[in-house]
């Protein structure tokens, strides 16, 4: 043992400790720190709850009361209805059977007018409640079944059972449309109505191509306020509506009309282009909400009367109008030759607004009711929708929003698995949690037949899911994909890491007490 040896040993120890401290800083502190700081920030999400969604198992309960003169009829009608709706997994009926009280029965049998009979039923039962429906027996009926604007259907006797079932299926509950709303693929009804949303703008544009030739007496503001306003006031639970009106002058359009006896017919392939032309001028896309476009096109006198198709045999409809799904409707105002002569045109406001309302109903999701044999649907003679149509809309929107929210959340969860550099910050996490919670509450309310609350929660879930999916912050790491990460780190860290990693072997040997270097022998 020489002095030289001990000196080299302490030197060796110093060297080793130095190298160990490098290892300590770089590998034990540095690596985890680097890992932690470059981690994509993701809030813990309720993945198990999202994966447990079963969109196809949602259903809505609804209350149906059968009122009949005698117990036997009530039993039979209720049994038939129950049988028909047994297999439907989208709507579940809670049927109660009752005998009509004597007083009401007497009234129903003696009153001549159905509307009065409705009022009598309304006095005895609460027909204003959402999501209820009454099937009431009324002997002096001309048809098997009669349906009006309230949540009541009259039937004559026990023989009307099959008609009642058909009416409930095709008019009142429409399980096929509800299934379409719940599924992922758009069915025919969904291709027409506007997608769900918190609110819409309704814009009535009066298009007047030749203002120099004709004066038009039409108060667009009052018309939209009174007619459309009283219609949308009934739908306030569903959406917010903003009503606007405007005049568009000098909007020329070539219909390529062909002359036929008694007027002109517009070229069929030109009509979609009219929509494009209207869109250019109507400037409806300045608002952030979707717009329901309503346009009254005042036909110039040299074209009037303009028709949309040829009517050789059949009687032409009272008004020329067309609609385009998810866009809106156009009504043509055809001035008469006398009006053209006087150069003053007064459009038939009732007829025009009635046409717009008919289009608006379809665009918002109220489907057409096919005629059923033996049943009579009282024609609508007011702006407001029927009470049971509102219930149907609420059911439809609740299911659709719920299904859409679940789809959004599911695909977001899937995307997070697929694409690694999506950030989930606290706000996105909060809206996902809110959506999941609202979905659960909406489902509960649906099963309890509490329709208004169910719709409110489903709308909240839908909006929260949309915000979560469309949150701009999800793209925060757009410029930092993995390959670029390595492109930066490898040239930065590799030159330092090499000697550190290489010294590891020596360090381990030294710690085990073995000599690191063989003694040089001269």
């Amino acid at each position: 043992m020489s002095k030289h040896d001990t000196k080299s040993e302490t030197e060796e120890a110093n060297r080793m400790w130095a190298s160990a401290s490098f290892v300590g800083v770089l590998i034990i502190i540095g690596l985890p720190l680097w890992w932690k700081t470059t981690e994509v920030y993701r809030v813990a999400l309720p993945y198990d709850k999202i994966n447990a969604f079963e969109t196809d198992s949602h259903y809505i309960s609804t209350e149906l009361t059968v009122l009949a003169n005698d117990d036997e009829t009530a039993q039979e009608v209720a049994r038939q209805i129950e049988k028909a709706f047994q297999e439907s997994d989208v709507i579940k009926l809670k049927i109660t059977k009752k005998i009509i009280p004597n007083k009401l029965q007497h009234l129903l049998d003696s009153v001549a007018d159905e509307q009065e009979a409705l009022e009598d039923v309304g006095a005895a039962f609460n027909i204003k409640k959402h999501n209820t429906f009454y099937v009431v027996q009324r002997k002096p009926l001309y048809q098997d079944v009669w349906v009006g604007t309230e949540r009541v259907a009259f039937f004559r006797d026990i023989k009307a059972c099959s008609t009642i079932v058909k009416v409930l299926e095709k008019w009142i509950y429409q399980p096929s449309v509800l299934i379409g709303a719940r599924s992922e693929i758009a069915d025919a009804a969904r291709q027409v109505r506007f997608p769900s949303g918190p609110g819409y703008h309704v814009v009535l544009s009066v298009v007047h191509p030749r203002p120099q030739e004709l004066k038009v007496n039409f108060n667009a503001r009052d018309a939209i306020e009174d007619y459309i306003g009283s219609f949308v006031d009934e739908l306030t639970e569903l959406h917010n509506f903003t009503l606007k009106s405007q005049w568009l002058h000098l909007l020329d359009f070539d219909f390529e009309a062909t002359e036929v006896p008694g007027g002109r017919v517009a070229g069929a392939e030109r009509l979609p282009l009219l929509l494009t032309r209207l869109e250019e001028r109507a400037a409806t896309h300045v608002s952030e909400r979707p717009t329901l476009n309503l346009a009254l096109y005042v036909v110039p006198c040299r074209l009037a009367p303009l028709a949309l198709q040829r009517y050789d045999k059949e009687i032409p409809p009272p008004v020329q109008a067309f609609m385009s799904p998810k866009w809106g409707g156009v009504v043509f105002g055809n001035p008469t030759p006398e009006e053209c002569e006087k150069q003053v045109y007064t459009p038939p406001v009732n007829l025009i607004m009635g046409t717009f309302l008919s289009q608006l109903r379809k665009l918002l999701g109220i489907t057409d009711k096919e005629a059923q044999a033996g049943a009579r649907l009282e024609a609508l003679r007011r702006a407001a929708p029927r009470a049971w149509e509102r219930d149907a809309l609420l059911r439809l929107r609740a299911l659709q929003q719920l299904a859409s929210a679940e789809t959004s959340l599911r695909s977001l969860a899937k995307l997070l698995g697929e694409i690694s550099n999506i950030v989930i910050n606290d706000e996105v996490g909060a809206s996902i949690n809110l959506a999941v919670e609202s979905i659960h509450r909406a489902t509960e309310h649906m099963e309890k037949a509490d329709l208004l609350e169910a719709h409110r929660y489903s709308q909240r879930a839908f909006l929260a899911a949309e915000t979560a999916f469309m949150e701009p912050s999800l793209l925060a790491l757009l410029y930092f994909p993995d390959d670029q990460k390595y492109a930066i780190y490898i040239p930065l860290f590799l030159p330092i890491m090499f000697p550190v990693v290489l010294s590891l072997k020596n360090l381990l040997l030294w710690f085990r007490g073995k000599p690191v270097h063989k003694e040089k022998t001269d």
């Binding site: 006031d233 494009t276 046409t355 609508l380 003679r381 007011r382 694409i419 999916f469 793209l475 410029y479």
Partner: protein, 346 residues
């Protein structure tokens, strides 16, 4: 004799049966889209890239002529060649040497211009994750029934497309953006066209369904320009887009041309680069798909025959706030120069 007839009828029926079995039913060949959108992007700036602006405006002109409304076309142009001080013919952009078609026209609605054309805005547009104050005209408001035409032009390399002069989008990022669109049901089918160098590298990473993609050149090839206009002094248009436009000019809204004709529009002899096509993600047979499925526009028209016969004129219950009596506001002119606010030091 009768036996012969029976045999004849039997074989006849069998052949009908077989030919029916082989033929793909019509409804699976027909597109079920309900609206058409177009996203047209020019990613490069500076005067010498005049041809890219001409490219994108040529496509814009065609889709607009074939019926897609401006509200459903998102046009991104990263530099304003029409107003460039070097442009000898201000406010015009031509796509051929004889200056026959002014593609700038009189009705061009540019949605994103100048430095707004960035990778971030492009990906935000596709995925729908735009800032909440974005106007509707700058959003891609597509749904599950939308057919989208995406056209990109600019300078590209193997796996990326350069935006402006500072950043690039990689093929992976583009593929991820399209997947996010698919997951949100933001399209029915996409037709993806890209006219850059090494263009086919941009669609190689796609993994979402229902995308038909075509590119002006394969990996390792350059995409070349068509010709110079000596009056303007720069290359006017790229070869691929030139032949595409030549083809599209002969398409009319009700013409029967198919996508397979479109895909074969620029043979190697004309383009000098090989046009790449990717059709494995696309379910339909391109030779059965009419070109108007992507370049035209469908708008369903339903004739209304059942107006509501309103009996009494409705009167909306007016909200209370309207009935408030208005206090007339006092107005006066302010002095032209606000001298009363300035403290005089004299």
């Amino acid at each position: 004799m009768s036996l012969y007839y029976v045999y004849f009828i039997f074989t006849f029926l069998v052949t009908i049966k077989i030919s029916n079995a082989i033929e793909i039913p019509e409804k699976f060949q027909k597109s079920n889209h309900t609206n058409n959108w177009a996203v047209l992007v020019d990613t490069s700036r500076f005067w010498f890239n005049y041809r890219h602006v001409a490219n994108v405006l040529s496509i814009y002109r065609s889709v607009k002529r074939l019926g897609i409304p401006d509200s459903q076309i998102i046009l991104m142009i990263s530099d304003d060649m029409a107003c460039n001080p070097r442009n000898p013919r201000p406010a015009t952009i031509f796509n051929n040497a004889h200056e026959q078609i002014n593609v700038y026209g009189d009705d061009v609605e540019v949605d994103y211009r100048g430095y707004e054309v960035s990778v971030e805005n492009f990906v935000r547009l596709l995925t729908g994750r735009v800032p909440p104050d974005t106007p509707r005209s700058k959003r891609l408001l597509t749904d599950e029934g939308s057919n989208i035409l995406i056209y990109l032009t600019g300078h590209g390399g193997d796996g990326f497309l350069k935006f402006q002069d500072s950043e690039e989008i990689t093929s992976q990022e583009l593929a991820d953006a399209l997947e996010q669109m698919w997951q949100k049901r933001r399209y029915n089918e996409i037709f993806f066209i890209i006219d850059t160098c090494q263009a086919s590298s941009m669609y190689e990473k796609f993994y979402s369904p229902n995308i038909l993609a075509t590119a002006s050149s394969l990996v390792g090839e350059d995409s070349l320009s068509h010709h110079v206009d000596s009056a303007i002094g720069v290359y006017i248009i790229d070869r691929y887009t030139y032949y595409v436009l030549e083809f599209l000019e002969n398409v009319h809204p009700n013409s029967k041309k198919t996508m397979s004709e479109f895909l074969a529009v620029c043979p190697k002899s004309a383009c000098l680069s090989t046009v790449g096509v990717r059709r494995d993600l696309f379910k339909r047979d391109p030779s059965k798909v009419p070109i108007t499925d992507f370049f035209g526009s469908v708008r369903q028209i339903i004739i209304t025959t059942d107006p509501i016969d309103i009996q009494e004129i409705p009167k909306r219950k007016k909200p209370m706030s309207i009935n408030k009596t208005k206090v007339p506001e006092k107005r006066e002119y302010l002095p032209q120069f606000p001298m009363h606010l300035v403290k005089t030091t004299v």
